[in-house]
């Protein structure tokens, strides 16, 4: 029993008008219905009354009724049938606009009943005389496939679509290509139907179209390449996407594709340019002719540079992609650093991206100009940008040995400004420079120490403390300076506490006579008054080391660290390849594989993990090999672990995993270890300034789960938030354990259990102490 509609209110009034005998009134009422819909009011109650107005000669009114149907068909599935007759009639209207409109709307209504009536009008429209109708119908096939794939298979729509690639009208070709690509993608996700004799005897309704339909053969390729030059800009994008998917038969064909696609660099549409870049990056892999590769990369540069004059949002998309391209081919824009100089009015997101690219392009040749620019940025008002500019100075110092001194000079100038956040950032950066060039710039230490009071951020404090500890023997009043931090020990954040602890122990090892009391105090404070298990653990280790074997303590705590370097890439090589094959897509903009951000729930996560593991297993193997080589060097350091670990001086990666297992860590942790053996992580740990700020979703690694890492990380506690999403995905949830195997716990977090046996890595690991 249907509820009687209320007899008053706006809807009642509208209903009256929709049924009015005057055409104007009805037209007006429809507009009002749509206006109400636009502002979010529910108009589903008027369905039958609106549908009555479908049959009209007024095209605008027809469009509005169709629009209404699109929005409300789902809510009134049983009433949609009322519209079918008019729809079918309209698909045969003499006006091509009406035919196209009808077929377009009909195919998008999510109503089973309509779909049954759609088949014959659609096959008619696909062969329509008018290209406008054909191009519209071509997309309709993709829409129908989305709703009811078996219908497309049954009526052979996909085959028709394929025929349309040869259509005389480029718009039709473009839409046919786009629709085919869409269907292809969707069909990958369809469950396989039980195998039937392919195509011949009509099988039980299969929803999966014959995969052969999507194979691009050489004749099709020729058609596509021809259409590419004639299409509208958007059609070109669709064609370029398909070309990117095409597997060339041989090198010759790859060359051919590259040459034919290259002119698209001259297109105004940024998406066409990036699409062309994508196709060329993909097919260039098969090209071996040096001169062609050279000419391709040479021609790629100017259009990329021109993208930097686009509106900021387009610029940003371009910059993110350029950043990726440079990771693969740093030479493309080697001479173009200046175009990435930040404009005063650039939005912050553009500036940050440009900064990153500038550092990538920095070389001995252009470093002076760059430093001048960075200094200029450091005086701007946007704090975040200023910090990044300062950080960039440090990155340049680490990247280019010859320029390090000039960079230090710039940093000293910046410290003189006495702007608090500039000073703090500069201190952080200088710590990295000390790590890269130990004992080179000790002269600046007094200036740094003079700014002690200015520092209020944990990271800056921790950095300065690290520097003091490291050069304790050269700083006369090191004990005094560290003493001030010890006084406020309890109030400090954990990273600062850890650094204070380590620095004082270093001081003690270097100048044992003067610092006996202070080391006692810090060990007391750290073991008694501290809430952090990490701090306590580390203090206990030191304590035991110092009391049992001072010589060992020295070799552990004062070990030489391996130099740090600027990573070439911010994503793992395999992922970089994957992303480069998707240039201009969201994945390439986020610098994350699609599976990480498109919501497929658990399935997606598993898929992602699987992919993440594949390439990195290889890395693990490689690492294991290195481990064997590096084994001997590490021997003396292994003494340190003697009481709770076997001596795997020639152990491979797998062995060390099981070793960790003995340490009482769940198997899931182990898989994490395996996963994070990615060399990238290592670099990130060492040098977090180089890490990217991921643009969108924050990586999932919560700080609390990485407490283990903190202990070992040189000095930055926030590094892990910038970890690759993979490493961050599953927390490294090993709880801090007792003193006995404290080291065992922290090492997996440091991302290489194996690395312990590797000379260099071990130094790194222990050198923090």
């Amino acid at each position: 029993m249907a509820m009687a509609p209320p007899r008053k209110g706006e809807n009642y009034e509208l209903r009256q008008q929709l049924n009015s005998e005057y055409r104007d009134k009805r037209a007006d009422a429809i507009k009002r219905v749509i206006a109400n819909h636009t502002i979010g009011k529910d108009c589903s109650g008027l369905f039958p009354d609106v549908v009555k107005n479908m049959q009209t000669d007024d095209l605008e009114q027809k469009k509005l009724v169709y629009l209404y149907l699109m929005n409300y068909a789902k809510t009134q599935p049983e009433l949609v049938i009322l519209a079918v007759n008019t729809f079918v009639k309209d698909t045969a209207d003499p006006n091509p606009l009406v035919r196209a409109l009808a077929i377009r709307t009909m195919s998008i209504l999510r109503a089973e009943k309509i779909l049954d009536y759609l088949a014959s009008p659609l096959s008619r429209c696909l062969k329509d005389d008018n290209p406008y109708v054909r191009k519209t119908a071509a997309l309709c096939v993709a829409k129908v496939f989305d709703l009811k794939p078996e219908l497309c298979v049954e009526y052979g729509f996909v085959e028709t679509l394929r025929d349309l690639i040869g259509d005389g009208n480029p718009m039709v070709v473009a839409n046919a290509v786009a629709a085919l690509a869409d269907i292809y993608e969707a069909s990958l996700n369809l469950p396989d139907t039980p195998p039937t004799s392919p195509g011949r005897s009509s099988p039980p309704p299969s929803s999966k179209p014959n995969p052969e339909l999507f194979i691009i053969d050489p004749p099709t390729l020729t058609k596509l390449l021809v259409a590419l030059n004639e299409c509208s800009e958007w059609g070109r994008i669709a064609i370029l996407n398909t070309l990117a998917r095409y597997k060339a038969l041989d090198e010759k064909e790859s060359e051919h594709i590259c040459e034919r696609v290259m002119p698209q660099f001259q297109h105004v549409n940024a998406a066409v340019v990036l699409g062309a870049v994508k196709v060329i990056m993909i097919h260039m892999k098969a090209v071996t002719r040096e001169d062609l590769i050279k000419s391709l990369t040479r021609k790629m540069a100017p259009p990329l540079v021109t993208l930097i004059s686009s509106p900021p949002e387009v610029q940003w998309v371009a910059l993110r992609n350029i950043n990726l391209l440079l990771q693969k081919r740093p030479d493309i824009l080697a001479n173009e650093m200046r175009v990435f100089f930040c404009k005063y009015n650039d939005p912050p997101y553009v500036k940050v991206e440009k900064l990153d690219i500038m550092v990538r392009l920095a070389s001995e040749k252009n470093v002076d100009t760059l430093l001048g620019e960075l200094k200029e940025y450091a005086s701007e008002v946007d704090v975040d940008f200023v910090r990044k500019a300062v950080r960039a100075v440090g990155q340049v110092a680490i990247k280019i040995d010859e320029a390090a001194e000039r960079c230090v000079g710039v940093l000293m100038e910046l410290i003189e400004t006495r702007v608090s956040y500039v000073v703090q950032e500069a201190v952080i950066v200088i710590k990295d420079i000390f790590r890269k060039y130990p004992h080179s710039y000790e002269g600046i230490i007094p200036t740094l120490c003079a700014n002690l009071e200015e520092l209020d951020e944990p990271e800056a404090k921790a950095s300065l403390i690290w520097i003091i500890g490291e050069y304790a023997e050269k700083i006369e009043n090191a004990d005094e300076l560290l003493g001030t931090f010890l006084e406020s020990f309890k109030e400090e954040s954990y990273p600062v506490q850890l650094q204070t602890l380590t620095a004082i122990v270093k001081l003690f090892l270097k100048k044992p006579d003067e610092s006996q009391t202070i080391v006692q105090k810090v060990l007391q404070a750290a073991t008694k008054d501290c809430d952090s298990a990490d701090v306590r653990d580390r203090a206990y280790i030191y304590w035991r080391l110092l009391s049992s074997d001072p010589a060992a303590a020295k070799s552990v705590v004062l070990a030489v660290r391996p130099p740090i370097s600027l990573p070439q890439t911010t994503v793992a090589p395999a992922i970089l390849e994957e992303l480069l094959a998707e240039v201009s897509s969201l994945a390439s903009v986020y610098h994350k594989p699609a599976a990480t951000f498109i919501g497929k729930g658990r399935l997606g996560a598993e898929e992602m993990q699987r992919r993440a593991l594949e390439p990195e297993e290889e890395n693990a193997r490689e690492k294991a090999l290195q481990t064997v080589v590096a084994g001997q060097q590490a021997e003396n350091l292994l003494d340190f672990d003697a009481d709770d670990e076997p001596q795997p001086s020639s152990a491979g990666g797998s062995q060390s995993l099981s070793m960790l297992g003995n340490g009482g860590i769940s198997s899931s942790t182990i898989s994490n270890v395996a996963k994070s053996t990615n060399p990238l992580d290592e670099l990130m740990d060492l040098f977090s300034t180089a890490s990217m700020t991921t643009p969108a979703a924050q990586p999932v690694a919560p700080k609390s789960t990485v407490s283990g890492i903190q202990g070992l990380q040189d000095d930055r506690q926030d590094t892990n938030t910038t970890h690759d999403a993979f490493a961050g995905l599953t927390g490294l949830g090993s709880p801090p354990q007792g003193l006995g195997n404290g080291n065992g716990v922290t090492s997996p977090a440091q991302s290489q259990g194996q690395a312990q046996q590797r000379g260099g890595a071990q130094d790194d690991l222990l050198g923090l102490f």
Partner: protein, 443 residues
């Protein structure tokens, strides 16, 4: 069925007001619940609060938000799949310019007043998430402000599906005319010591075409690459384009082969091509300022401008923006030429000179009061920026050699105008502190 729905992505386009409320929206695939659109601005605010950079694309709970800003509006696209970000963002810009051409101003009010036509446009410009026709001239042929009755005008949208999608057939003019404008915008950055550290020329060849039928045109430039290829290097000056972009009407493959610019033009006004050169350019209009800042009482400026181009040329409508502290007050100006106004909304004063002759230089002085209590903020060090136009002049040396209409012979040279002007980033950091022995004489 369900699984298909889950996996298929969707694309929704919406225009939001400054408060994040949707003014109009159109979903091209499936329904994204409106709540996702409404969620956009809160997400942005949240990011801002947490000091996370808000970027044009970001993802949240499996939904990708791609947006651009226009005045007080957000143009937003939502998708669930790994969409082509460049395409979507570029499309939004295109949508923005189409709507601007339709309504002059794209703003809240014009959207509310024209929702019917916007729906129609959204319908024609994109289908199932794939952009279709985005040329506003073509759209205007069959989507007009006046509603049209079918019996009166059964209009097949011919241009949409012509092989030439940008021009309709059957255009007639009594007087066939073509106008060409060559506009070069100069972007440069001068550092504090007066050296140019970055410069580029962004050139554009704009056409106004009033021609009958489907004319086939060929444009000849003094293109260096072509001159060299055809061995004509010796004669006349040539110029080298570093990167060229063409309107979609130009046959790109033809250009790639033999550098011929051949095309069937759209009707009316359009930009045929744009090019970029990063050759060093000296600042055509050079400005420097020295500042004497007496904190807590006053600040004084002396600004010098010089036209660094040929004597016979003139720069028109020169506007020099010199930044001043936000809290400067009671301006006093003195100048030998032009006029000066204070533009507190830009934290700058503007020196306007109608005509600046080549080789000439002028000076002006400005005096501002400063509040005695100052917040301790560091000064923003915005650069000086300059607007100007120099007619009959190009920096690159580009020349239009001919414009041929291929079928019809004997067509005369088109009207060609050349103009050099500032780009949107013509800035000089040449503001120096005057030394204590003041070079600036008191007003």
């Amino acid at each position: 069925m369900d699984s298909v729905a889950d996996l298929s992505g969707n694309l929704t386009v919406a225009i939001l007001d400054v408060k994040g409320k949707s003014l109009i929206q159109r979903s091209y695939r499936d329904d994204v619940p409106p709540s996702y659109i409404e969620r956009f601005l809160p997400l942005v605010l949240e990011m801002e609060e947490e000091n996370v950079q808000v970027t044009p694309c970001f993802s949240d709970e499996g939904i990708n938000y791609m947006h651009i800003r226009h005045n007080n509006l957000y143009l937003l696209a939502l998708s669930k799949r790994n969409s082509n970000a460049a395409e979507v963002i570029f499309f939004l810009h295109r949508l923005c310019s189409v709507l601007t051409e339709y309504f002059k101003e794209l703003e809240e009010e014009s959207i509310r007043d024209n929702f019917v036509i916007i729906y129609e446009l959204l319908d024609e410009m994109m289908d199932f998430g794939f952009p279709q026709t985005t040329e506003s001239k073509i759209l205007q042929e069959y989507i007009t402000q006046e509603s049209h009755k079918l019996e009166v005008q059964a209009r097949p949208p011919m241009a949409v599906t012509n092989a030439v999608s940008w021009r309709s057939e059957g255009i007639r003019y009594r007087k066939n005319e073509v106008f060409l404008d060559v506009v070069e915008s100069i972007n440069l950055l001068v550092n504090a010591s007066g050296n140019v550290i970055r410069s580029e020329i962004l050139g554009a060849v704009k056409m106004k075409c009033y021609l009958t039928g489907m004319p086939e045109l060929r444009l000849g430039l003094n293109d260096k690459v072509m001159f060299e290829a055809t061995g004509r290097g010796a004669r006349g000056k040539s110029f080298e384009m570093e990167d060229v972009k063409f309107h979609q009407c130009v046959r790109l493959s033809r250009f790639e082969n033999d550098r011929t610019i051949s095309f069937i033009p759209p009707d009316g006004e359009f930009e045929l091509m744009s090019y970029r050169l990063s050759t060093p350019v000296k600042p055509l209009v050079y400005v420097e300022a020295s500042v004497e800042n007496h904190r807590g009482s006053r600040v004084e400026y002396m600004v010098k401008v010089r036209g660094q181009f040929k004597r016979k040329s003139t720069a028109n409508n020169v506007e020099i923006f010199v930044p001043v502290p936000d809290d400067a007050d009671s301006p006093k100006f003195r100048t030998s030429v032009g006029s000066v106004v204070y533009a507190p909304e830009k934290s700058a004063f503007v020196w306007k000179i109608k005509q600046l002759g080549g080789g000439r230089d002028y000076m002006m002085r400005a005096h501002f009061g400063l509040p005695s209590v100052r917040n301790d903020e560091i000064d923003k060090r915005a650069p000086i920026s300059v607007n100007f136009e120099i007619p009959y002049f190009t920096v690159s040396g580009i020349q239009v050699r001919y414009l041929k209409i291929v079928e019809k012979s004997g067509y005369q040279m088109p009207w060609v105008r050349y103009i050099a002007r500032n780009g949107d980033d013509y800035v000089l950091r040449t503001i120096s502190d005057a030394k204590s022995s003041s070079i600036i004489a008191p007003l």
